[in-house]
C-alpha cells in the first residue's frame, strides 16, 4: 500500500471502472445490478484509498468489493422472492459469488468496447445513453454527471435507472455484435461520445464551474474506444476531430467569455502537442480506404489548425473536403459550411448562390445558421445593411447564449459603423 493523492485516485478509479464492471457483468449477467455494485465499490475506494493508500491490485480490490455488494444484493433479492413466491433455489449464483475471490478477477480487453455498446444501445434515448456511458464506462458519479448537465442528482439517477431498465428489457446479450450490427452499434457509440465532447466544448465557454470537464472525459473514452477498435478508421477520425478541436479551446473565448471566431483567434494559444497528435492520427486513418464523416471533419479541422495565420488557410482543400462530406452526409449544416468555403475560394457571390439553393428547403430558409452564413457573406461583400438584418435574425434563432451574444455583437459592430 502506498498513500495516494485524491486526484490521482479519482483518475485511477475512472480508468479501472470498465475493467471491473466488464468482468462482473460477464460473470453475473445482470448488467444493472453489476453496475450498481461497481459504483458502490468505487465509492468505498474513493473514501478509503486516499487515507490508506492504493492496494497492490487495485482492480482486484474493486472487483472483490463489488462482488460482495452484488452478492448481498442477490441474497436479499432471493430472500424477498422466496418470501413472496415461496420458491426455493436461487442458490447457484449466491454460492458462486460467495466462493469468488479477487484472484478470479479477469479483465478482458474487449470489455470497454462491450460496455460502450451496451450503454449506447439503440433502445435508449440520447440523454440516457450519455448519462449511462459516463457512469458505467467513465466511472463518474451520478452527482458529477448531474452537475455537468445542470440537472439535479435525483433526476439524473432516474435517467440512469431508466436506461438500465431499457437495456434489461431489450434482452441485449453481453457479447460483441458482428457484421453490420457491429457497424451500426459502433456508429451509435461514436455519436454519443461526440455529443459528450460537444456538450463540454460548447458549454465551457465563459463560466468554468466546478464540474467535470466533459470534453476531457469524452477524449479519454474515445481513446480507450480507439484502443479497443483499432481496425476502425472512423474511431481514429473521431478522436482526431476531438483533439484538433480541443487544441483551440484556450483561444476560442475572450476574458468576458465571449466567443472568438476562428479567424480572430490568437493562434499562439493553440495547443501544438494536441494538433500534432491529431494530425498524425488523421493522416494515418485516411490512408485506409474507408473514409467516413468523422475523418473528413477531422481533416477539415487539421487544415485550419495547420494554418499559421487565417490568410494561409488552404480554403480550396477545405472546400474539397466539405464537398466529399456532402456526398456522404445529408446534414444541411455541412452544405452551409460548404457554401462558406466556396465563398472563400470562388468569391462571395458563388457562396451566396449556394446558400440560396440550400434555402429552397423551407425548413432551412429561416434556420438561424442560414441567416448567420448569409450575414457573414454579406458582411464580406460590404453589404452591411443586409448583414445587420441577418445577424439579428440569426441571434433571435439560436439556442446558444454565447452564440447569441456573438451574433448580437457582430450586429452592433456593423450598426455603429453605419451611424
Amino acid at each position: 500500500m502506498s498513500s495516494a493523492h485524491p486526484r490521482s485516485v479519482e483518475q485511477l478509479l475512472r480508468d479501472l471502472t470498465p475493467q471491473v464492471l466488464g468482468a462482473l457483468t460477464r460473470r453475473h449477467r445482470d448488467f444493472a445490478a453489476a453496475e450498481d455494485a461497481t459504483q458502490e465499490a468505487l465509492l468505498a475506494a474513493s473514501m478509503q484509498w486516499p487515507l490508506e493508500g492504493v492496494p497492490g491490485n487495485p482492480a482486484g480490490w474493486l472487483y472483490k468489493i463489488a462482488l460482495r455488494r452484488l452478492s448481498d444484493h442477490t441474497r436479499s433479492e432471493a430472500a424477498r422472492r422466496r418470501r413472496e413466491e415461496n420458491i426455493a433455489g436461487e442458490f447457484a449464483i449466491e454460492e458462486m459469488l460467495m466462493q469468488s475471490t479477487d484472484t478470479d478477477f479477469e479483465p478482458d480487453q474487449d470489455d470497454t468496447l462491450l460496455l460502450l455498446f451496451m450503454c449506447c444501445h439503440p433502445s435508449l434515448t440520447t440523454a440516457s445513453a450519455i448519462a449511462l456511458t459516463l457512469r458505467a464506462v467513465g466511472g463518474l458519479t451520478t452527482a458529477e454527471i448531474g452537475k455537468a448537465f445542470f440537472v439535479p442528482e435525483a433526476t439524473m439517477a432516474q435517467r440512469i435507472s431508466r436506461a438500465k431498465q431499457a437495456i434489461k428489457e431489450s434482452n441485449t446479450p453481453f457479447s460483441l455484435p458482428s457484421g453490420q450490427e457491429r457497424d451500426e452499434r459502433l456508429d451509435a457509440v461514436m455519436h454519443v461520445l461526440y455529443l459528450i465532447f460537444n456538450e463540454g466544448h460548447t458549454s465551457s465557454v465563459g463560466e468554468k464551474l466546478q464540474r467535470v470537464d466533459l470534453s476531457t472525459e469524452a477524449i479519454r473514452l474515445t481513446r480507450s474506444l480507439n484502443e479497443s477498435a483499432p481496425d476502425s478508421p472512423e474511431v481514429a477520425g473521431l478522436l482526431a476531430l476531438m483533439l484538433l478541436t480541443e487544441a483551440r479551446s484556450a483561444a476560442r473565448s475572450g476574458p468576458a467569455g465571449e466567443l472568438i471566431p476562428l479567424d480572430e483567434q490568437d493562434r499562439t494559444r493553440w495547443d501544438r502537442a494536441l494538433i500534432q497528435e491529431g494530425v498524425a492520427l488523421i493522416a494515418k486513418a485516411m490512408s485506409s480506404s474507408l473514409i467516413g464523416p468523422y475523418q473528413l471533419q477531422a481533416a477539415i479541422a487539421a487544415v485550419h489548425d495547420q494554418a499559421a495565420t487565417p490568410e494561409q488557410t488552404n480554403w480550396a482543400q477545405i472546400q474539397n473536403l466539405y464537398g466529399l462530406l456532402l456526398r456522404i452526409s445529408d446534414n444541411p449544416m455541412v452544405a452551409l459550411n460548404h457554401a462558406v468555403a466556396t465563398a472563400m475560394v470562388e468569391g462571395v457571390e458563388a457562396g451566396l448562390s449556394l446558400v440560396d439553393a440550400i434555402a429552397q428547403d423551407t425548413r432551412l430558409k429561416e434556420h438561424y445558421r442560414t441567416h448567420a452564413v448569409r450575414a457573414h457573406l454579406y458582411e464580406r461583400a460590404g453589404k452591411h445593411h443586409l448583414a445587420l438584418e441577418h445577424y439579428q435574425r440569426a441571434a433571435d434563432g439560436t439556442s446558444s447564449l454565447p452564440e447569441r451574444n456573438y451574433l448580437l455583437s457582430k450586429a452592433a459592430r456593423l450598426s455603429s459603423r453605419r451611424s
Binding site: F149, A154, T155, M156, Q158, N198, M333
Partner: protein
C-alpha cells in the same frame, strides 16, 4: 434541451380564488402538482419546479442613486397576469415540453375540471446542438 414552463395566472382572479375551494378540490389540485413533479423526476426530466409567493408580497426593485435599491410595492395594476410558479425541464425535443405544459395546464379546479391555466413555454438558452454545428 431545457425549457422553462411558466404558469401565468390571470391577475383579476388572482390564484383562481383557491382559498374559496372545498378542501377536497384544493387537495386534489395540490396532489396533481405533486404527482406531476414526481413523474417528471421519474422520467429523468425535472430540473426545477417552484411556486412563488403571491403578487401581494412582490416588490419591483430598481437601481437608485448611490446604489441603494429603490422598491415599489404591489399590487401592480398594470400587469394582467402574474407568474405563480414555474418548471424547468430537460427534454429530448420541444414537443415533449409542450406535452408537459399541457399536462400542467390540466390541473383540476374547484369543480374537479381542468383549470386550463395558460403555460408559457420558453427555451432556456444553452449550448448549441451538435446537429447544428
Amino acid at each position: 434541451m431545457k425549457f422553462m414552463l411558466m404558469m401565468n395566472v390571470p391577475h383579476d382572479t388572482g390564484d383562481y380564488r383557491i382559498n374559496q375551494w372545498t378542501p377536497e378540490a384544493f387537495n386534489a389540485h395540490i396532489k396533481f402538482m405533486k404527482d406531476l413533479n414526481r413523474d417528471l423526476t421519474k422520467s429523468g426530466e425535472l430540473v426545477d419546479a417552484q411556486g412563488l409567493a403571491p403578487p401581494g408580497r412582490a416588490k419591483i426593485i430598481r437601481f437608485g442613486k448611490g446604489g441603494a435599491p429603490v422598491a415599489s410595492d404591489g399590487p401592480f395594476a398594470e400587469t394582467k397576469e402574474f407568474l405563480a410558479g414555474y418548471w424547468i425541464v430537460d427534454v429530448e425535443k420541444p414537443e415533449r415540453a409542450y406535452e408537459i405544459a399541457a399536462k400542467a395546464s390540466s390541473a383540476p379546479g374547484p369543480d374537479g375540471q381542468p383549470l386550463v391555466i395558460p403555460i408559457e413555454v420558453r427555451e432556456v438558452l444553452g449550448a448549441p446542438l451538435p446537429s447544428e454545428g
